[in-house]
């Protein structure tokens, strides 16, 4: 029997074509969609698009909102092809039903994506796709929002096609009614027009007839020159309800008769609950039940603060298992040993690989980054009700369908008996992707211990920080050989990984002999995707080391990169643009310096030039970030800029402060004081410049993050001669710096 992948690939003549056909629904599925998600009078005419009798259009978005603007950008793409007036477009979240899954899109997109070959799964979906595809037999699909994929997968292969197909069906319906050729009909502002007769019909009147036609999997798409909505900075539809407290996040859900739960999980990952001395805690005001789980204890009370106070009064004893002695230092030693071991496996070899290191001048360096928590503003939480053999769950996740599947699995129920209400998230950044749903598991198990009572389980900030799925702590050891002109002839990179080979370890620079190897060093610390995933560390490593090579060659870092990007015109243009916009090479006052870094991730190229200032006492201030971004085309330029700004600040928090350390097998940090982040006082001014190359769309949510750390540390080197090879910067003293003549 052919594998699922073969079936999909078999039909993938050109990237995306089958995906579209796969995703579009035949009419019997539209009827099911009407039952699931249409209000009286509304009819589905194609995927995700509903038309009302008053001609208004509703776009059903099969993703969750975590603030990235996709509830605006995706409907923009559908409305563009549908020729809908934006003022008539409404937006709704898709129900977590397989019918609205974007899994087939995501799967085809992954396979079509140029980085994907063979068994590779992109890092953003590692643990996600792997898990979900394994459960596909029973649950069909996924509704993932992650990997900067919504606009370039659902948007490009889904929304645009659905909008265009719907438009064609509406035209067919009108043409049939008028008994004219479809070619004589045009569309504008939710109407089909027939110029010759002057007739016009609204989409609302045509919707029912249109739905009887089969949607074309390959409808004619508009040329970019005809766009009126895509490419415009349309204000985000979700913002008005976010300035007056109306947006109903997972934490805000109100279920009649609801109780509240607070949890204490084994501090050591993998530990087990051994004993709980309940004492007088069960008599504390409002306490309803103390639930002992495998690795945690939960207190359910009538109010959250009472549950929290009660759980803090408990003194649970955990069996730490084999990991109670693990520290950050023991993990680092293991990684260093692994890099020197015979366990390294080949990731990539070009030319003579590392053999070419025998000639030329050798530069060598080792880099390391720590574990990082996501620290979303909304702590992990979920509300669950188990009643009469059925489960109902409310929560914000990056995959409503995956969340529903996970709840069913935890409760040992069929999907049909699980209702999942997907709510907006107070931040995602990868934390709320499937595979990392520990908060759902605890909420479901607690609810099942209290049948008939809805229970809202909320992680304290401390539990949220100590039971995350962390950005891995990883290392890279580089060696390069430079020729007489200082240009690299060989590049070797040995890196540790928690998973398999990382595609982001591959470089865009033209170096003839490359050898990239990896070694897997699993630890008991759970890891997961963190905004920009692998690129968050490989970007820092590679861009720092390239900068080292430029300085070793005594060549300007921008000029050096441009020489190495001779075969990468898009990358080179981004570097040129950011350098020009930032005034690279112009004089700066004493104590200030610039640094540059460029990283391609999620098919988007981003370069930042950072201006820093170091006070005589060593205090670092990041003053200004100038950014250039090429994601092909900006669907919503203002939304793109916001995402790049956010990506920069998220990455800057990590570069300056971010560090999760392990002691006695557990996370040492608890909350924002000891896991600090950028606030207004540390926030630089940011300018984002969009480079419209017209290439295939890249992502927006993540690519702003990877270049920020190396741009800052490269600037630090320019200012001080100190090469920062380990983050975060809070651990690095810049006070003893010897000011170098800054020639940048």
């Amino acid at each position: 029997m052919p594998s699922r992948r073969m079936i999909v690939l078999g039909g993938l003549g050109t990237a995306g074509a089958l995906v579209v056909g796969y995703a579009l629904w035949p009419s019997h599925r539209l009827e099911r969609a009407d039952k699931l998600a249409a209000k009286p009078g509304e009819r589905f005419v194609a995927n995700w698009i509903k038309i009302s009798p008053d001609n208004s259009v509703t776009v059903v978005v099969p993703h969750c909102d975590m603030g990235t603007g996709i509830y605006t950008a995706l409907p923009q793409m559908a409305a563009e092809e549908l020729d809908a007036d934006w003022s008539t477009v409404h937006v709704e979240a898709a129900p977590p039903d397989p019918l609205f899954a974007n899994g087939s899109l995501a799967e085809g997109f992954i396979l079509a994506s140029r980085h994907m070959t063979g068994d590779q799964i992109p890092a953003f979906l590692r643990g996600t796709v792997a898990n979900t595809f394994r459960t596909i037999a029973s649950y069909m699909d996924l509704q993932v929002t992650g990997g900067s994929s919504a606009v370039r997968a659902t948007g490009v292969y889904g929304m645009r096609v659905a909008g265009a197909a719907a438009r064609e069906m509406l035209v067919k319906a009108a043409a049939a009614r008028w008994n004219v050729a479809t070619a004589e009909c045009t569309t504008k502002s939710n109407h089909v027009l027939h110029a010759a007769s002057g007739k016009s019909l609204g989409y609302g009147e045509l919707a029912a007839e249109a739905a009887t036609y089969s949607p074309s999997p390959t409808p004619a798409l508009k040329p970019k020159s005809a766009y009126t909505l895509v490419g415009k900075p349309i204000p985000r539809v979700d913002i008005p309800e976010k300035v007056n407290g109306v947006t109903n996040y997972g934490l805000d859900v109100q279920v009649p008769g609801m109780s509240y739960a607070a949890i204490k999980i084994s501090p050591v990952f993998g530990g087990k609950l051994k004993a709980v001395s309940v004492g007088d805690v069960s008599k504390m005001r409002g306490v309803q039940k103390i639930v002992q789980l495998d690795d945690a204890v939960v207190v359910v009370a009538d109010r959250y603060w009472r549950a929290r106070d009660a759980v803090e009064a408990l003194n649970p004893v955990f069996d730490n298992g084999a990991n109670g002695g693990v520290t950050s230092a023991t993990i680092t030693s293991r990684r260093m040993a692994a890099l020197k071991s015979a366990d390294l496996k080949s990731d990539l070899k070009t030319g003579s690989g590392a053999d070419a290191l025998s000639g030329g001048r050798i530069v060598e360096a080792t880099y390391q980054v720590p574990y990082l928590a996501h620290a979303t503003m909304e702590p992990m939480n979920a509300t669950a009700l188990f009643k009469d053999g059925k489960l109902e769950v409310w929560s914000g996740t990056q995959d409503g369908l995956g969340a529903r599947a996970q709840c069913a699995k935890t409760a040992k129920l069929d999907m049909e008996n699980v209702t999942y209400h997907l709510l907006p998230m107070g931040g995602g950044f990868g934390r709320r992707l499937p595979g990392f749903f520990n908060f759902l598991d605890y909420a479901v198990k607690t609810a099942m211990a209290m049948p008939g009572t809805p229970v809202k389980l909320i992680f304290s900030r401390e539990e949220d920080m100590q039971h995350d799925f962390y950005r891995p702590n990883v290392m890279s050891h580089f060696r390069a050989a430079l020729d007489a002109k200082g240009m690299p002839i060989a590049w070797a990179n040995d890196y540790t990984t928690d998973g398999g080979a990382d595609t982001e370890a591959h470089i865009d620079y033209g170096i003839p002999n490359q050898e990239i190897r990896y070694v897997k060093v699993p630890t008991h610390v759970p890891t997961g995707p963190w905004r920009s995933v692998e690129a968050s560390w490989h970007g820092f490593f590679i861009e720092s080391f390239v900068d080292e090579l430029a300085h070793a060659a005594n060549i300007d870092p921008v000029a050096y990169r441009l020489q190495l990007l001779a075969d990468k015109p898009r990358h080179a243009e981004v570097v040129r643009q950011v350098a020009a916009r930032a005034g690279w090479g112009t004089p700066l006052p004493k104590g200030k310096a610039r640094g540059i870094a460029m990283v391609e991730s999620f098919e988007t190229i981003v370069a930042h030039v950072v201006e820093i200032e170091i006070a005589p006492d060593g205090r670092l201030k990041v003053d200004r970030v100038v950014s250039a971004v090429d994601c092909g085309m900006a669907v919503n330029p203002d939304g793109l800029k916001a995402q790049i700004e956010g990506g920069i600040i998220y990455g800057l928090s990590a570069a300056l402060f971010g560090e999760i350390t392990i002691d006695k097998g557990a996370v040492m940090q608890q909350s924002f004081p000891d896991y600090d982040v950028v606030r207004l006082a540390q926030c630089p001014t940011i300018e984002v410049h969009i480079v419209e190359s017209g290439a295939a769309l890249g992502g927006a949510g993540e690519p702003g993050t990877p270049p920020i750390a190396p741009a800052v540390t490269n600037a630090i080197f320019a200012a001080t001669g100190i090469r920062v090879r380990e983050l975060p910067l809070k651990n690095v003293s810049l006070a003893s710096s010897r000011p170098q003549s800054a020639r940048l």
Binding site: I239, V243, N244, G245, M377, G426, I458, F672, P673, C683
Partner: protein, 149 residues
């Protein structure tokens, strides 16, 4: 114990412990969920409300300490229509996930009532709320646009 709390102009009677945190009383007793829980230790500012017009982190504010005060939450701030701060937040497309924005808007509104045109430094020293999405540059632009208005 029973306490009378005046929230958004309405007096509510709540039967809670004297040290019950105002945040959770607002959310769970009064159903005013616009005020958010972020850290519980006054480190992040997501729970910021006004107590007699002063920006106050409600997660560490005991109910007994705010009896007899005027408490305003995000729900009360724009009850008579969007305030200029809220409108500026829309105009400058400030929020992303939006979770911290209730607290941000409350904190900024209290600051601007005292200092209508803060410098960047004054803004940074007064507004220490955390936003993980990174909306600070737009927040800054929105505040400065209000100063110019």
């Amino acid at each position: 114990m029973s306490f009378l709390l005046k929230v958004n102009g309405t007096v509510h009677e709540v039967d809670v412990e004297h040290d019950a945190p105002l945040l959770w009383v607002l959310r769970d007793e009064l159903g005013l969920t616009g005020t958010k829980f972020g850290c519980g230790i006054s480190a992040c500012g997501a729970c910021t409300v006004h107590v007699n017009g002063v920006a106050t982190r409600s997660c560490v504010t005991a109910v007994s300490n705010v009896v007899g005060t005027d408490i305003t939450t995000i729900e009360g701030l724009g009850a008579g229509g969007l305030t200029p701060v809220q409108q500026a937040w829309i105009d400058h497309q400030v929020p992303q996930c939006g979770y911290c924005q209730s607290g941000m808007i409350m904190a900024v509104s209290a600051l601007l009532a005292k200092n209508p045109s803060p410098s960047d430094d004054e803004l940074a020293s007064s507004i220490t709320n955390i936003c993980r999405c990174g909306t600070y540059p737009r927040l800054r632009a929105a505040v400065h646009s209000l100063a110019k208005a």
